[in-house]
Amino acid sequence: MEQQNVLVIGAGVAGMEASLILAEAGLNVHLVEKESLIGGQTIKFEEVYPNMECATCMIAPQQQDVLQNDRINVSLLSKVQSVEGSAGNFKVQVKKKARYVSLINCIGCGACYEPCPVSLGNAFEERMSQKKAIAVACPGALPNAPAIDPEACLRLNGKKKDCSACQEACGFDAIDFSQKDETVELNVGAIIVATGFDQFDVSTLPQYGYGKHPNVYTAMEFERLYAQNGPTEGELTLRQDKPIKSVGIIHCVGRKQEGYCSGVCCMYSMKFAYFIKDKVPDADIHEFHTDLCIPGKSHQKFYNELKDKGVHFCRFEDIKVSGQNGNLQVRSTNSDGKEKSTDTDMVILSPALTPPPDAEILAKSLGIPQDSTGFFSTQNQKLNPIDSEKEGIYVIGCAEGPKDISESVSQAEAAAGRVLSFLQ
C-alpha cells in the first residue's frame, strides 16, 4: 500500500473502534462523520442489553480517545463525495459543511443557546424536544461544542441578516459566520465503510396507529424518553399524559416489508420491558412477537428473567393498534386465527433496521454494490464477510446489515486486521 492512510466513514461505535486500532498500529486515519458529534446511534441508548450497561459510560472513554488521538483526523458534518483510484491509492473528495463554531475556541459552556431566537425540533431527540438553531445534540455530546443549523439560523438563512445574538453571548470568539463549506481531498490506501443504519418508517403502516395515536412510540423515541440526558430526563411522561398501567411492545414492524429479520429488535424490545418494570413496577407489559430471535449466548437468560418478572409474551400472526381517548387497544391474532384484544396506555413499535437513506449515493461514489436489501454487499460467497466487491474497501457494522454492537465491534476490529494484514 503506497499510502499509510485509511479513510473510515462513520464515527459510530464501529467506525471509532476501527479508527482507534489502526491509529494504535501507527497508521493515520481520516474519520469522516456526517453529524456534528461522534458516537453514532449507541450514545442515544441509556442502557444496552443484555447486561444493561450504561451506554454513555461504555462509549465515552472511546469517544475521548478518538478525539484526543493525534493520528485520527476527525471531520464532522462531512460526507464523502467521490472516490477515485484503487486499493493502495484512493483519491477521495470529502465535502465538509461549515459548523460556524470554532472547535478550537469553543469550550462548550453553552452560553450561546439561550439568546438564540430560533427554536426547532431536535432530530437527535426524535423531535420530542426543542433545540436552538445553535445547540449541541444532547448534554454530554462529544465534541462538546455546538453547531449552527444554517437552515434555521436567521442570519444564515437570510431572514434576519444582522442577528448576532450567539456571537454576542460567546466569550471565546468561537462563533464564526465566515466559515464556508469546503471540499477536502484525501489520499488513502484503504476505506472502511461504517455508515450505520436507519429505522423503518412506521408511519407507512397505518395498522400500527403511529402518528394517529400520540402514545404510540417508535423504539428510538422510547430510547430517548427513557434516557437520563433525554427530553424528559428519563421520566416516562407520555405525549398524551396519563399514568402508565399497561404497555404493548410490538416486534417485527416492517420485517415483512423489508424482507429480513433485523436480529436485534427482540432483545431491545425486551430491554424496554426491563426499563418499564424498573420505573413502573406495577405496569402490565405485553411483548407481541412473531419469532423470538435471541441468538446470543446470554440472551435467553434475559428472556427467562423477564418472564419471571411477569412480562407477558404473546405470539402473533397479525396485529393492529386502535384507540380512543388515549386508550389504546392491541388486537393480535395467533396462528390458529384466534383474536385477542389487549388494552394499553402506551404502545412501542420496534421497527426493522434499514440502510441509511444516502446508502445508494455512497455506493455509487465508492463503486461498491448494494444487495437486494439495500445494505452494502460483501464477498460472502468467497468467505470474506467484510470485504466489499472492490479491493481495499471494507464494510462493517450495520452498513453491512443489521447487527448488534458486539458484532459491529468485531467487524471493526476485523477490518483493521484486514488492512494491517494487507500492509505487512
Partner: protein
C-alpha cells in the same frame, strides 16, 4: 450557640462513571449541595475502610462512595468488591460506635448527572438532619 450546621462530607467518586456523572451535573448546571467534597479515585474498589474510617475519625460528617452500576465497572468487577467491603464496614461501624448511616455507597453512571445531584443533595440533607459527627462534636467549639 446553635449556628446553622453545615456538614462536611467526603465523596469518593470512581473516575469512569460517577466522576463523569458529577461532571455532567455541572455541565447541565444542576445545583448540587456544596457540603460534599469530591475526591477522584480510579475505581470504587480502591476505597476501603482505611479511607472511609479515617475520614470519619478526622471529622467528616458523612462519607459517600460512588461507583459504576453493577455490571458496568470499567475494571469488570471492582464495584462488586467495593460493595462487599462496604457491607462489612457497615457492620464494623456499629462496633466502633459510629453511625452506619453516615456512610453511603451509591451507583451513579456517567449519564446520570441529575441522579448525582439528587443523591448528593439527599445525603447532605440526611446528614444535616443527623447533626455533626459525634466524634468531633465535643472537640469543636
Amino acid at each position: 450557640m446553635e449556628k446553622k450546621f453545615k456538614p462536611n462530607i467526603v465523596g469518593f467518586l470512581c473516575n469512569w462513571c460517577s466522576y463523569a456523572g458529577a461532571d455532567l451535573a455541572g455541565s447541565s448546571k444542576t445545583q448540587v449541595d456544596p457540603s460534599l467534597s469530591v475526591i477522584r479515585v480510579m475505581c470504587s474498589s480502591r476505597v476501603n475502610s482505611n479511607l472511609i474510617l479515617s475520614s470519619l475519625l478526622w471529622g467528616a460528617d458523612g462519607v459517600l462512595v460512588a461507583g459504576c452500576h453493577p455490571g458496568d465497572c470499567h475494571y469488570e468487577q471492582g464495584n462488586y468488591y467495593a460493595r462487599r467491603r462496604f457491607a462489612l464496614l457497615k457492620k464494623i461501624t456499629k462496633i466502633l460506635n459510629l453511625e452506619p448511616d453516615r456512610i453511603q455507597l451509591s451507583w451513579i453512571s456517567a449519564s446520570e448527572g441529575k441522579r448525582y445531584a439528587e443523591i448528593v443533595n439527599q445525603f447532605a440533607r440526611d446528614i444535616t438532619k443527623k447533626g455533626p459527627n459525634p466524634l468531633t462534636r465535643n472537640s469543636q467549639t
